[in-house]
């Protein structure tokens, strides 16, 4: 789960990380009032779950309350990577002497959280990694023992020479690690970590991604979810316990299991079609899940054909068949449907489908080709 910059900053402040003040506005008037309180130049920052905010015009300086209002109005009208900007963070502009990058990322290869720091901050860290990897220090942390003081200071010494800054940065490393662990993150990032002309080390931006599997353990973090910042069909799917991602094509796919779902999309493409979505109904399916899946798929006007691909293991194919029958009785389909199912209770599923006027096959290749052809015919 993504959380917004202003939310991540709250969590980091709670660990003692120095962060300049900031307030959230949802209207230009609110933004103006906040700028009035701070006085001087402020930065107005779009709060949206997308990278590249700056390039998209979502981060702007404003020298006066009046200008803040104008800038906020423009930013609040933006869509960044398709997502509407509904909030801006208004924060006093900071003078910057130097910028660094500090991040903790769960690393698959070492099976540990890995700290990444670089004095070349403020820009795309992936670019630094690609062009000048020697400017990045990577340090894995054994979570059984936590981030040791010597590790925190090693990270800090990589960024700074001055003793005072090193001590301040080491405390920030400890705070970032504490927040990462406490809230179940898969990523926690400060970019940039800056040194002010006065010599203070402060975090100007923050990003945290929470492992979805941790949310049951952290209800206060789960409550930070901003559904208005997400694709509506994806929110609906999550609330129905389905994994759904909207794509650009016209073949609506309903599959059980993520690997098979991706392989099905690939096969649609292989035969010259274009998948409209990724949808995984998961393992232990019940008819209700299938009903919800069909609702979400049929709500997409670009879908010209629906493809079911179910390999029954834990999933009972008769449950899926019953779901298809129930859903189409509630609201008859306007586009053709191709059903492939095999595995647990296959005979029963076929019987249910045939009795209700559906045809179904047990061959994945054949079903995908048929769905692609139908989508093309209707397009």
């Amino acid at each position: 789960m993504n959380i917004h910059e202003y939310q991540a900053k709250e969590l980091l402040r709670a660990e003692g990380i120095p962060i300049p003040p900031g307030e959230v506005a949802t209207t230009p008037t609110e933004a103006e009032a906040i700028a009035m309180r701070y006085g001087g130049t402020v930065v107005v920052k779009a709060q949206v779950h997308a990278g590249g905010r700056g390039k998209a015009g979502g981060v702007k300086l404003a020298k006066s309350p009046k200008e803040t209002r104008d800038v906020a109005e423009r930013i609040l009208a933006l869509h960044i990577k398709g997502l509407p900007v509904q909030r801006v963070l208004v924060t006093p502009a900071a003078d910057i002497a130097s910028e660094a990058y500090v991040g903790v990322i769960l690393d698959r290869a070492s099976r540990k959280p890995v700290f990444m720091v670089s004095a070349a901050g403020g820009i795309d860290i992936e670019e630094v990694a690609a062009t000048t990897p020697e400017k990045i220090l990577k340090l894995p942390v054994d979570t059984r023992y936590g981030l040791q003081p010597y590790q925190a200071s090693r990270l800090a010494f990589f960024l700074y020479d001055d003793q005072k800054r090193v001590r301040a940065a080491a405390r920030i490393m400890q705070g970032l690690y504490a927040a990462f662990m406490k809230h179940g993150c898969s990523l926690a990032e400060i970019n940039p970590l800056v040194v002010t002309p006065a010599g203070d080390v402060v975090a100007l931006d923050a990003k945290m991604v929470i492992d979805d599997n941790e949310l049951d353990r952290h209800p206060s973090i789960a409550a930070l979810r901003d559904e208005s910042a997400e694709e509506p069909s994806e929110v609906q799917a999550r609330n129905a316990n389905l994994t759904f991602i909207k794509l650009e094509g016209n073949v609506g796919c309903v599959v059980n299991g993520a690997g098979l779902a991706m392989a099905t999309m690939d096969l649609v493409k292989y035969y010259g079609g274009d998948p409209a979505n990724f949808l995984d109904i998961g393992g232990s399916s019940n008819p209700e899940k299938v009903v919800n899946a069909l609702k979400i798929i049929t709500a997409d006007p670009s879908v010209k054909a629906i493809l079911f691909n179910i390999f029954g293991g834990i999933t009972r194919t008769d449950d899926v068949a019953n779901g298809i029958v129930t859903a189409t009785k509630q609201s008859p389909l306007k586009v053709p449907i191709v059903i492939r199912l095999t595995g647990t209770n296959e005979e029963l599923a076929m019987k249910i489908l045939h009795e209700n006027g559906f045809s179904a096959s047990s061959d994945m290749d054949e079903a995908v080709q048929k769905a692609v052809a139908l989508a093309k015919g209707a397009a």
Binding site: L106, R108, A109, R111, K112, P113, E126, D142, T143, R144, M181, G184, C185, S186, D211, D212, N213, E214, D216, R217, T243, I245, L247, V255, N256, G257, A258, G259, L260, A261, M262, A263, M265, D266, L267, V268, K269, Y270, P275, F278, D280, G283, S284, F311, G312, G313, I314, T315, T342, G343, T344, M364, D365
Partner: protein, 289 residues
């Protein structure tokens, strides 16, 4: 022969009285797996289906029955404890089926299990099956048949799809292993490939990867450097858009690391046969046997 499990595998089921645990324990027993014990704290002394003794702890179960393998069906927030408990009790293979285990939990579990000298498979995996001998987990037994193909995969139902097609084409399997789709898992492709290479029964390997991470690229390098047996591979998620999660936490493409194109290029460079569709495994494997 086979890898990881065979006729001598004695299984203790953690979470045997739960919904999934009880269902799949019955399926495992039906398949012929030696399920010797179950664990549900507070239900020690009872029996499962009148046949399998239930214990309060894995240590009790191991002491009383000599179980050497644990399979875990407990809910996600209790799964880390269950894995550590199993390894601490001296079990040599820990198979975690549970989906939704917090990834940070696994950063503690993995080194613990390793230090105990045990093997962890999963979490979020379908388990494994040595056809005709033993199945530990949830892979449907009837789609498998004994034979010479080693199967290793990050996915559940995609594995079933491929195994089903192999079986229909007369290609039986030595062992099928689902390593799971989570970012941190106990056993990776290389572990399985090395075991298949050493297993005299296995003549060729079918490997199903997906986008995200570098496990497949590492596997390809391993194949090139050390393996003599033929390998055929598939990557799911070739059409997945960059930067989007596709259900498995593992299937994240970030930047250039972990794209399907990168993985397929690594396969190609290692001489691994590339199945463009799941159904292509049959012909590619037949050619190489």
């Amino acid at each position: 022969m086979s890898i990881f499990i065979d006729n001598n595998t004695k299984v203790v089921v953690q979470g045997i009285t739960g919904r999934d645990g009880s269902f799949h324990t019955k399926q495992m027993i039906e398949y012929g797996t030696k399920v010797v014990a179950g664990v549900t704290p507070g239900k020690g002394g009872q029996t499962f289906e009148g046949a399998v003794p239930i214990f309060n702890t894995v240590a009790d179960a191991v002491n009383a029955t000599g179980a050497n393998t644990a399979v875990i069906y407990v809910p996600p927030l209790y799964a880390a404890d269950a894995m550590i408990e199993a390894a601490d009790a001296g079990v040599k293979l820990v198979v975690a089926i549970t989906e939704g285990v917090p990834v940070l939990d696994m950063t503690r579990v993995y080194p613990f299990v390793k230090d105990k000298g045990a093997r962890l498979l999963g979490p979020n995996c379908p388990g494994l099956i040595t056809p005709g001998q033993s199945k530990v987990g949830i892979i449907p037994g009837r789609i498998c048949k004994p034979g010479n193909i080693g199967v290793v995969s990050r996915s559940g139902t995609l594995t079933y799809e491929v195994v089903y097609q192999l079986t229909r084409a007369g290609l039986g399997q030595s062992t099928c292993v689902g390593i799971g789709g989570d970012p941190i898992n106990g056993t990776n492709f290389i572990d399985c490939l090395a075991a298949f290479e050493a297993d005299p029964e296995t003549k060729a390997i079918a490997m199903m990867g997906e986008i995200g991470g570098t496990d497949e690229q590492d596997a390809a390098a391993f194949v090139k450097a050390t393996m003599k047996k033929p390998v055929v591979g598939f990557i799911a998620g070739q059409t997945a858009p960059p930067g989007r999660r596709m259900g498995h936490a593992g299937a994240i493409i970030s930047g250039s690391a972990g794209t399907a194109a990168e993985k397929l290029a690594a396969f190609e460079a290692a001489g691994i046969g590339i199945a463009k569709r799941p159904m292509d495994f049959v012909e590619l494997l037949k050619k190489r046997l």
